[in-house]
């Protein structure tokens, strides 16, 4: 049985098509600048993040006794100042949007089926919105006088 091919000239095997092939019906221009702004945002936020993230790591992990100094009191002390509140807020928003847009690119590059793409992005957007809102809430409502 094994040497008998299932396929012949009149009945060829299915060819393997590449993912998301371009056809005549491939959607035409949406006429927005969304991808342009996304691309620019990655570069601009990246530049700002170099300062914010490296500064953050330096303060938290290197200076003044390193990571061992971090405790409730340390956080409470820093968030008493609007400067550090602003710093952390900027870092939270920029890093989250930068990271989320980066992962959106990764999903666009790797996910092949339309449904996979859709659900991965929904998961990503949900997680991003949740983290950004929760973080913002904590920065603004942090109360150093816990019972």
């Amino acid at each position: 049985m094994n040497d008998v091919s299932l396929y012949d000239v009149d009945n060829p095997a299915p060819v393997i098509e590449p993912p998301r092939k371009r056809t005549k019906k491939t959607p035409k221009s949406t006429r927005t600048n969304f991808e342009l702004y996304g691309w620019l945002f990655m570069r601009l936020s990246g530049v700002v993040l170099v300062v914010l993230v490296l500064g953050h790591l330096l303060i938290q992990l290197v200076l003044d006794g390193g990571v061992s100094k971090i405790g409730f009191a340390f956080v409470a002390g820093r968030w008493a100042s609007p400067f550090w509140q602003g710093w952390d807020l900027c870092m939270l928003w920029l890093a989250m949007l930068h990271g989320a847009n980066g992962l959106r690119t990764v999903i666009n590059d790797y996910a092949q089926r339309d449904t996979t793409r859709f659900w991965l992005k929904m998961l990503l957007y949900t997680a991003t919105v949740f983290t950004v809102l929760l973080g913002t809430l904590v920065i603004f409502t942090f109360d150093p006088n816990i019972a």
Partner: protein
């Protein structure tokens, strides 16, 4: 004896022996696919005596003519002009007719397979239609307004120089099928379409640049390029493909701001 005839004779003999000893035995490991036989693609080895100064295309010809007539591949000009025979040789996209065997280490088996990201129809032949669809979608022809001039459309040498690099494209698809973004998402225009849009966007005689920029500004346009430089490495015409894509990006940004 030192008669000139004898010397000549031995020199000719030497030359003949030299040519004979320059032949080497090379193995070509070719990715075969024939949907009329099997749904699976598989590697097949062919051994042949060949002069290493010959090209991979010559080796494919020898195999097809002397060993296995079913081996299927495209070629037309055989001199790097028509763009028919782009294939993946030792893992890199090249034109078989421009690749010398001595340049790709014939000591080891030389792998030859179809370019990636397009449907393989048989052996090394792929369906180029999606590639040409992306090409058509950037409107690769002169667009002008107003009356036709009675003489030719003049252009300065500098204006011509501006897009000289991208006029060299032969539409072989080596660049597009070397792009990892295109492998996973065929909706991306791909480098070749952008190169051919660049050729008109930066042509001072053309007036459709705005339309083409708008097309490439979309979600499957230039912003999907991740600057991997695979396309520049692959191009057999030496076009700086990634640079051309970058120039289109820059034109879009300077147009907006």
């Amino acid at each position: 004896m030192s008669s000139p005839t004898l010397e000549k004779h031995s020199a000719a003999l030497d030359a003949a022996e030299n040519t004979a000893s320059q032949m080497i035995t090379a193995t070509f490991r070719i990715r075969r696919f024939n949907p009329e036989v099997s749904e699976e693609a598989s590697w097949q080895d062919f051994q042949l005596e060949i002069d290493p100064k010959e090209r991979v295309l010559d080796a494919l010809h020898k195999i097809k003519w002397d060993q296995d007539g079913t081996l299927t591949f495209r070629r037309s000009c055989a001199h790097g002009i028509c763009g028919s025979d782009a294939m993946r040789i030792n893992g890199k996209n090249r034109l078989a007719c421009k690749t010398l065997i001595k340049d790709i280490n014939p000591q080891k088996p030389i792998t030859v397979e179809a370019i990636k990201g397009l449907t393989v129809l048989k052996d090394l032949v792929v369906d180029m239609e999606p590639f040409f669809q992306a090409y058509r979608d950037v409107m690769p022809f002169l667009i002008t307004n107003g009356n036709e001039p009675t003489r030719e459309r003049r252009q300065t040498a500098e204006d011509r120089e501006r897009f000289d690099d991208t006029t060299k494209c032969i539409l072989c698809a080596a660049c597009t099928s070397s792009c990892p973004v295109f492998w996973n998402d065929g909706q991306y225009f791909g480098p070749a379409a952008i190169v051919n849009a660049h050729r008109f966007i930066f042509d001072s005689r053309d007036e459709g640049g705005e339309q083409r920029l708008e097309i490439l500004n979309d979600k499957d346009g230039v912003w999907r390029c991740r600057t991997t430089f695979n396309c520049t490495d692959a191009c057999p015409r030496g076009i700086e493909v990634t640079k051309a894509i970058q120039e289109v990006k820059r034109a879009l940004i300077t147009r907006r701001f």
